[in-house]
């Protein structure tokens, strides 16, 4: 196995890696077919994609569990994953089978729902543990994807694997990057039009990041599109690809970097992918430019920190919108981009909504990337006071940066204090949910600020390329906690209600037709709140802190709700320490206590249901 790994890594150096076939190397992989994801998504009894559907709304039409009976919820069964590290993402359910994944070593279990979760098959990849320390912020994985009879796993070491959903047999495997140069993976993949779209991590290691499409049946690469570099590597058309309604022009990325810094430019793609079948476009955000020291990379650093709309068949970009030009705070732009149809100013629009790390909740028209709304979704945000919405202004679409909080303005070796949000953003990867019944988004957020001090660093392949030191603390002059769970009206850019949380709300949300919204907390609570008011209706303490996403399904006519617990991820960095408390001397309350006073490591799946009548 080691030999195969090496071969794959070498092939990767040659820029075009060949998939390793499970069958005879000369032959095509075994043909496996089944119902498509697109078809299964129509059936709310299944949970066939990480966020439920292509639109990434995290919404379920199931309504057996309602805001009136959710108080009776109880644990139906549990399953230990056998892995201690941070558990992000959620299981999938297709028919009578549940597919469970783990952080590194990325084990996959198929559980028989007809037989009390008996293990049908288990797949354990062989991965070099050397990949572990290259993964910034824990060895999390945001889950499996399904299409056409196959389960897709994107491992930590960037190997993309297709498994036979029935047997767990490996059908093909291909290396998407080189961990020795800092490229790793934590994200799920998007199966669409017979391809799977995959991203990559490594923004803290100076990787030139990209999205890549592989043939779903063979693992053969179809196209690759980088976040920064020459036009032919970006897969953009200088005349037809637009930004805020105008063609981006020739060398749109190269012009915004000094020399060849784009080659170590980051812009990683470790977030979520959504897809609109009518427009045949998929959407995602690219991450922070490398390094974290802004002085060292002059220019707008395009197209890091950018929302992208691309054609999944060709990879060609339809439009782009850079949210945070020349990032100075590590406001990694990778958060999910749910797609909804709502009325804005009385007019029905095809929308894309995005809660960025930078604290702005954006609403755009997803057909052409027109910017409709950009408002703070956490009142603490202070690094920028507004986004220019006047189309006649030269800075249209750009955030207006407050000089006091600009680490570029304050310069190297200068400690810029009191910046909100902190580098982990007003929200990180933990996805929001949307209910078409209320028209509201439900967003788990961070309420944390920071001091940020950039300085010079040198680049070594495969080594951290950070160049700043930070200290983080709960947002001052607020409720003392480090998170909020909010409801957001994306058509107006306004908070509808907000529930304070002691720790960052790091679990992904689920909204249901029963008018219940579920999410998990770092202390380990599964919480159910009223979709209209945010009122707490039910909570249960799971075995460990929750950074996974809540999902729901129906088996044998009964609705279940499930979530991984298993604390870790970037949130786990603060597990032992807690965050520093700027007001410690002023008798601040215990909200600043370390998370390890509340929970310990360990991966468990907990499944809930209503009691039998």
């Amino acid at each position: 196995m080691k030999h195969i790994g090496l071969a794959a890594a070498t092939a990767c150096l040659l820029a075009y890696s060949l998939p390793v076939m499970a069958d005879d190397a000369a032959g095509a992989p075994k043909e496996v077919t089944g119902p498509t994801a697109a078809k299964l998504m129509q059936n709310p009894n299944d949970w066939v994609a990480q966020r439920g559907d292509y639109a990434n709304t995290g919404y379920s039409k199931l309504d057996q569990i309602t805001k009136d009976n959710v108080k009776n919820l109880q644990v139906a069964w549990t399953f230990s994953t056998g892995v201690l590290r941070g558990h992000e993402g959620s299981p999938l359910v297709i028919g009578d089978v549940m597919y469970v994944h783990t952080p590194f070593p990325n084990i996959v279990y198929a559980l028989d729902l007809n037989n009390e979760g008996r293990i049908i098959w288990k797949y354990t990849p062989k991965q070099d543990p050397e990949v572990i320390p290259v993964m910034c912020c824990d060895t999390v994985n945001r889950g499996l994807a399904y299409d056409n009879g196959k389960v897709f796993l994107h491992q930590a070491d960037t190997n993309v694997v297709a498994l036979d959903a029935k047997t767990g047999q490996e059908l093909w495997k291909v290396a998407n990057g080189d961990p020795k140069k800092g490229a790793t993976n934590t994200a799920t993949v998007l199966p669409v039009n017979g391809k799977i779209i995959v991203g990559i991590s490594g923004g803290e290691f100076g990787v030139q990041c990209h999205v890549t499409a592989y043939d779903e049946n063979t693992g053969k690469r179809v196209w690759r599109a980088f976040s920064e570099g020459p036009d032919n590597e970006l897969l953009v058309d200088p005349e037809k690809t637009t930004s805020l309604g105008k063609p981006i022009g020739k060398d749109s990325s190269l012009k915004t970097w000094e020399g060849d810094q784009w080659k170590t430019g980051g812009g990683c793609t470790w977030g979520w992918f959504s897809y609109d079948p009518q427009l045949n476009l998929f959407y995602y955000g690219s991450g922070n430019p490398s390094t974290w020291n802004p002085k060292q990379r002059p220019g707008d650093n395009k197209w890091s920190m950018t929302l992208w709309a691309r054609n999944p068949d060709t990879g060609m970009a339809k439009w782009v919108y850079q949210m945070t030009p020349h990032d100075e705070w590590d406001y990694d732009g990778i958060n999910e981009v749910p797609l909804v149809d709502q009325k804005v100013d009385g007019k029905e629009r095809k929308l894309l909504v995005h809660f960025d790390r930078n604290g702005y909740g954006y609403t755009l028209d997803r057909t052409d990337g027109e910017l409709l709304v950009a408002q703070h979704f956490d009142p603490a945000v202070n690094w920028s006071d507004y986004v220019q919405m006047d189309k006649s202004k030269a800075d249209y679409g750009r955030p207006h940066v407050v000089a006091k909080y600009s680490t570029e303005h304050n310069g190297e070796d200068n400690n810029s204090k009191g910046i909100c949000p902190a580098a982990l953003g007003s929200k990180d990867e933990q996805p929001s949910a949307f209910s078409p019944k209320t028209g509201l988004f439900y967003v788990p957020t961070n309420h944390v600020c920071m001091d940020y001090e950039p300085f010079k660093v040198s680049y070594t392949p495969g080594q951290p390329y950070v160049g700043a030191t930070l200290s983080m603390y709960p947002a001052p002059n607020s409720h003392g906690g480090m998170g909020n769970f909010i409801a957001w009206d994306a058509t107006k850019g306004k908070i509808a209600w907000s529930d304070p949380e002691q720790f960052s709300a790091w679990g992904g949300a689920l909204a249901t037709a029963g008018d219940v919204v579920f999410y998990g907390t770092l202390e380990g609570y599964l919480k159910a709140v009223d979709a209209h008011s945010g009122k707490l209706l039910y909570k249960f303490k799971t075995p460990s802190g929750i950074i996974g996403n809540v999902m729901t399904y129906v088996h044998k006519g009964k609705q279940f709700v499930a979530v991984y617990s298993g604390v870790g991820g970037w949130a786990g960095i603060g597990l032992a320490a807690g965050l520093t408390d700027p007001n410690a001397g002023l008798g601040a309350v215990g909200g600043y206590a370390a998370l390890n006073n509340y929970t310990a490591l360990g991966g468990t799946l907990t499944v809930f249901s209503l009691p039998n009548q």
């Binding site: 941070g86 300085f455 660093v457 040198s458 070594t460 080594q463 200290s471 960095i573 032992a576």
Partner: protein, 234 residues
Amino acid sequence: MAHRSTLAGILASTAIAICLIGAAARPGYAEDPSKAGEQAAAKSQVASPTGSSAAPENKAAEDAQKQLANEDPTKVVKKADAAEEKPSGDLAVEMQANGMWLDKDGNPTPYFAKNGEMDWFTFSGYRRYGANCLQCHGPDALGSSYAPSLVDALKTVDYGTFLQTVAAGKKNVSNSENLVMPSFGDNKNVQCYINDIYVYIRARSLGLLDRQRPSEHQPKPAIYGTQETACIGF
């Protein structure tokens, strides 16, 4: 001295020694400690308009810069005042020209100045820790859900083992754990500041520094700046 030669062996074996700033005190410094101290102290007065400014503005400054380049950064230039009252964790006995304090065994250690300022290495180490170590070992070296607290670790890990671990990495992979520390042997952002990082963590471990940025600190010694530039390349 025996300890130092062990250290040299470790450094050679891991091939990282080239750009250590003020790597453990140079053998032979102690021929006549008192005298050496006096001489260097005098010198450092001449050469310490403290600023790290790279471009000298006049000839005098240029000369000072040249002189600086020839100066030995590890020469002991100052002794801790035995009569001074200090926190019990402060083990510093003497300071090198580059601003690094040593304990009685010649290992790098933090130092509290009379005016309450911490030494330059503790501050510099705080910053470099934040960029290179915090992602796993947590804020203020307190550990995370996947890497141990270094505040605790340094209570038992000696300087030599620390250098070796950072240079070579460490693995603890089993059925229940997957803990892997990478090798930082060829990472200049770490190796050029390895003593700074050690001193910072030691300050935390000895209880000399609370969970905070050591904002009150001594200025960067000029000779440190010269060495830093030579090591990291800009």
